[in-house]
């Protein structure tokens, strides 16, 4: 009996040591997984998000319209650079042009070709403007009317220069832009040499109101 007591105590202490090591390892690995997971998900996720949507530092917003403030300029900030590398487009410099894009209507719903929209705009004070509609990848939408945009020369405007455009699948009277079956759509307004008031207040940008959906 005098010999067996120390033997049990040695096994017990060994077991306790193994348990301690296992617990420490488990805590460390949980912390490591938490650390790595959080850093990667938050870091990459926030990076991709800000490159896609922009922030107050990189964009100017007016209702649903967004303009990347330094697009096409020298010494681009890394977000704008990544944004246009991703899109694959060649933006005109904001020194001479303003390019506004909209992916949502006035109520914040994603623009979609299954819905009909009414765009109402004040006269646009710029040398030239173009309002075009694209699918989600920046591609023109096939349609039998072969109509993809309106410009300052082709738009049928009111005598005071204001105008409206209807985005719909089927033909509509007036300025109709067909959206076909494109799915999600994006609107792009390019203004060359806009007056400063257009860029600063952006009040002349069209409102985008959803009329209905199928």
């Amino acid at each position: 009996m005098a010999i067996s007591v120390p033997a049990v105590s040695v096994v017990g202490s060994q077991l306790a040591r193994v348990r301690r090591i296992l617990l420490t390892w488990l805590t460390l690995s949980t912390n490591a997984i938490l650390f790595v997971g959080l850093s990667i998900v938050l870091g990459i996720g926030s990076g991709l998000y800000l490159v896609d949507t922009g922030s107050r530092l990189t964009t100017q917003r007016s209702g649903p319209w967004v303009m990347w403030s330094r697009a096409g300029q020298r010494d681009l900030d890394p977000y704008t650079r990544a944004r246009y590398a991703k899109l694959g487009s060649l933006p005109l410099s904001t020194q001479i042009a303003a390019t506004w894009e909209a992916r949502y209507d006035l109520d914040g719903r994603r623009l979609h070709s299954s819905c009909e929209y009414l765009l109402e705009a004040e006269p646009m004070d710029a040398t030239w403007f173009n309002l075009a509609v694209y699918d989600d990848n920046g591609l023109l939408i096939p349609n039998s009317a072969e109509r993809h945009s309106f410009t300052s020369q082709t738009i049928a405007a009111n005598p005071d220069g204001s105008f409206f455009i209807v985005l719909a699948r089927e033909a509509r009277p007036g300025n109709w832009l067909p959206v076909g079956g494109a799915g999600r759509i994006t609107l792009l307004i390019t203004m060359i040499e806009p007056k400063p008031s257009v860029v600063e207040s952006a009040q002349q940008l069209p409102s985008i109101r959803r009329i209905g959906c199928r």
Partner: protein, 189 residues
């Protein structure tokens, strides 16, 4: 709430992860352009010859060279390469709304000019790489063309893009004719 409490129980780890996430965020944003091989320059470099203007066909569905290309605009693009010699560009911006933009291969615009509302803008540019390698022969070139303006390009390769808005289909031939006059060529200095 239960998960949030658990997370807060590991606050030193969470705090460390937030700092690390900031570093990952910065690295991600800086690294993203090198992951996208379909930026505008890469797309155009695959098809366009160097040091010559190419007038792109009008953008149509399934026949677009670049995403978000303006359908009511004609584009003339010169992919320049100034590794061996400068490149001269002669162009006329015929109408209000016409623009000339020079981009580096990374998509930064280092020179931009719109047409004037009052008059046609005649341009004569010499695109040079940074440094003084070609500074001597430029004086010689100026003797032949006193209006020559020099523009230093931050990169040895890039794009000169002229955009000409279409006023309507009836003007298409006129615009194409005006674009056909523009020149982009290597200068044998």
């Amino acid at each position: 709430m239960k998960y949030l409490n658990r997370l807060l129980g590991h606050w030193p780890v969470v705090l460390g992860a937030l700092v690390a996430a900031g570093i990952v965020h910065i690295c991600t944003v800086f690294a993203l352009p090198s992951f996208y091989h379909s930026d505008a320059y890469s797309r155009l470099a695959r098809t366009l010859p160097s040091n010559a203007f190419v007038i792109l066909p009008q953008a149509r569905p399934r026949a677009q060279v670049l995403p978000y290309q303006l359908p009511a605009t004609r584009y003339a693009i010169c992919r320049f390469d100034i590794t061996d010699s400068p490149v001269a560009v002669r162009a006329t911006l015929a109408e209000p709304g016409w623009t000339l933009s020079a981009y580096t291969s990374q998509g930064e615009s280092f020179y931009v000019l719109p047409a004037s509302e009052q008059r046609r803008v005649n341009l004569s540019l010499l695109i040079l790489p940074p440094g003084d390698r070609f500074l001597g022969p430029i004086t010689e070139a100026r003797n032949y063309d006193p209006d020559l303006s020099t523009v230093i390009s931050p990169s040895r390769e890039g794009l000169i893009v002229i955009q000409a808005p279409l006023k309507g289909r009836t003007y298409a031939a006129e615009i194409e004719q005006a674009l056909a006059q523009i020149v982009c060529r290597k200068v044998g200095l």
